[in-house]
Each structure stands twice: as C-alpha cells, then as structure tokens.
C-alpha cells in the first residue's frame, strides 16, 4: 500500500514539474526514477521510453504505466498513471474556470486574439520539425503526401487514415523484403 502511494507521489511530482510532455520529460524522469529513487536503471527507462513512443497514447502516460507496472504490477501501472494525470486535471480545471470568468473583458479578448496568432506560429514550427524528422526517404514522403490529401480534402476520419498508414507500412515492408533497413 505504502509502495503504491510512493508511486502516486513520484508521478504526481513528475507531472507537475514537466511542461510540454514527450521528450522534454526525459531528464525529469531520469532524476526522479533513476537517480533519486533508484527504482529502475537508465537502460530500463530508455526501454520504457522506446515502448512509450511506439504504442498508442500519450508518451508520458505510457511511460508512467510501464514503470508502475514493472514495480507493482497492474495496480502499480494504474496508480502511476493516475499520479501523472492528477496535476493536469487539477491545474487545467482551475485555469479553465478562471478564464471563463474573464472572457467578457475586452483586454482579455484582444490578448486571446494575439495568442491565437502565436499558436499558429508554434504549431507551424511543430509540423516543420516533425517533417524534418519523419520524412527521411521517398516512401515516407509518399505516405505523408497521401495521408495529407485524405485528411485535408476528404471527410475520411483520422482513425481510418492511421489504420491505412499502418497497413501501408506492413505492405511496403513485405515488398522491400530483406532490403528494408
């Protein structure tokens, strides 16, 4: 029981102290889990992280479930994940309530219109960075182009496009056979 509480607290701390999620979390996870608590080794953490990136869902959550499970089985996985999710639920709920109450002020509306321009810039930058990282050969470019056409010009749901892309990955692997890297 005590151990489960410790898991909850550790992941609550990680959740509250990380901004952004994904890769930005790695140093925080390393400090809390490897250096401070010595629960897992750095190799295991990197393994968790690799699995977190190639499974469905938020990377941060996947890593929490995996580490929790390794320590305390299914209950550990659930508790660690709830610990990770708790700060988001608390903080966002308070911020959202506060913002709803402020919406009627003209100053706040001007600020929000400005922020929207900023969000567009940051999101464009995310796409640009992702494209540089994921479009490494012609096959990737072709899949990306096909997915874009489907997503932008047709009403096909996002889920279907993901399933198509997964199938395309397997088919291409079969065609290229042993030559695939």
């Amino acid at each position: 029981m005590n151990e489960l509480w410790n898991l909850y607290v550790a992941f609550f701390r990680i959740g509250i102290l990380t901004f952004g999620g994904g890769l930005t979390m790695l140093p925080m996870l390393k400090y809390e889990l490897v250096e401070k608590r010595k629960w897992i080794t750095e190799e295991v953490l990197l393994d968790c992280y690799a699995i977190g990136q190639c499974t469905p869902g938020i990377i941060a959550v996947n890593t929490a479930t995996f580490v929790g499970y390794k320590r305390k089985g299914v209950a550990g996985g659930v508790v660690a994940t709830l610990g990770m999710a708790s700060p988001s639920i608390l903080i966002i709920t308070v911020v959202a309530m506060f913002l709803e109450a402020m919406m009627s002020y003209a100053v706040v509306q001007h600020a929000i219109m400005g922020i929207r321009g900023g969000v567009c810039a940051l999101m464009l930058n995310t796409v640009y960075t992702l494209a540089k990282k994921s479009l490494i050969n012609k096959t990737c470019v072709a899949i990306c182009a096909a997915a874009f056409v489907l997503a932008f010009f047709t009403p096909i749901p996002t889920v279907v496009i993901i399933v198509f892309a997964a199938a395309a990955g397997v088919v291409i692997d079969k065609i290229q056979g042993g030559d695939a890297k």
């Binding site: 959740g15 869902g57 959550v61 479009l135 996002t158």
Partner: protein, 185 residues
C-alpha cells in the same frame, strides 16, 4: 447516447489512435470540434496555448480542458481518464506478454507507415486552424486578418533562430498576448 458517454467514447478513441503524444491528439480534437457543439476550432487554439503553458503533458491538459468546456469539472475528469485508459490496457498487455515488442519487425513496419502519416494529419489540422484563426469568413469569402498573420510570420521566423528556439512556449504566448492588446487585434 448521453453526452458523458459520447465524451468518454471520443477520448478513448483519441487515446487509442493518437500515436506520438501531445500534438497527435490535435487532429482528433479537430474532428470533435466539427462533429459536436462542445467547442469551436477557435477555442481549440486557446486550449493549445493554455495546455502548452501549464504544467503536465500537453495531451492530458487538452483532454481536461476540452472535457471541462463540454461538461464542467466532471467532464474534465472523465475525458482525461478516458484518454489514459487505452494506454493502461495496451502497455500492461505489452509489458506482460510481449518481450522485445519494439524490436519486432511487424511493429517497426507499422510505425514506419504511421509516423509520416501523423505528420500529415497534424499539418492538415494546422492549416485548418490557420483558416479559422487568421481569416474571418464573410458571405462565403475568406478575409485575411493581417495583424494576426504578421504576428504569426514574425514568431515563426524568430523560432528558427537557434538561441530563441529553446525559449518556453509560454514566453511566445505572452509576447503574442501583449501584441494583441497593444495593436488591438
């Protein structure tokens, strides 16, 4: 189906298919904005700003915010739990039964297909977002909002500069908010 069940269904689906964390949830949230009266695309862009500027993984923050907009505090809690449920199930199965999952050939092939597609999905979502935030629609015509476009272009260019790249997103949102107030966006 009641609103709460729909919310759970949509976020469970997002958790199951959003591969690659935070930004990968955006296309799904955009689908929701189109399909349900829960929140608009414009509101989605404020949600992104807030989720990036507050502690916690972006994907979780967005789920709490979107759920809160739809059904209040209860909605926020339920959406976030629905989003993490697929992770818990999938990861525990993998940890228990599949040793060397990430080295498996089929798994790698699947993700080689999915990764470039996710980039495309996010790109399409961003273009849609630009269409609703940097343009206004009047009588079927798109009218550009020049102030917002200039601000967006300036921040994008500054972001390519190595020294500024490491700045926290919240800094940029603060700059954008001040610009919005000063220039009366």
């Amino acid at each position: 189906m009641s609103e709460a069940l729909l919310l759970i269904f949509e976020f469970f689906k997002t958790g199951l298919f959003a591969i690659g964390g935070g930004p990968a949830t955006i296309p799904f949230l955009m689908d929701m904005a189109e399909k349900y009266p829960w929140f608009t695309m414009q509101e989605l862009s404020s949600m992104i700003a807030i989720s990036e500027s507050t502690p916690g993984p972006i994907g979780l923050n967005m789920a709490t915010y979107a759920g809160f907009r739809t059904l209040g505090v209860f909605g926020g809690v339920v959406s976030t739990l629905a989003l993490v449920l697929p992770s818990i199930i999938v990861i525990i199965i993998i940890a228990k039964f599949l040793d060397g999952f990430q080295e498996n050939r089929i798994v790698q092939a699947v993700f080689r297909g999915i990764r470039p597609a996710v980039t495309a999905l996010i790109a399409a979502a961003v273009i849609n977002m630009i269409r609703v935030t940097l343009f206004t629609e009047e009588a079927g015509q798109l009218i550009p909002q020049y102030k917002g476009m200039i601000l967006c272009a300036v921040i994008f260019v500054l972001l390519q500069w190595k020294r500024l790249k490491k700045l926290h997103p919240a800094v940029w949102f603060l700059v954008a908010a001040v610009a919005g107030i000063v220039f009366q966006f």
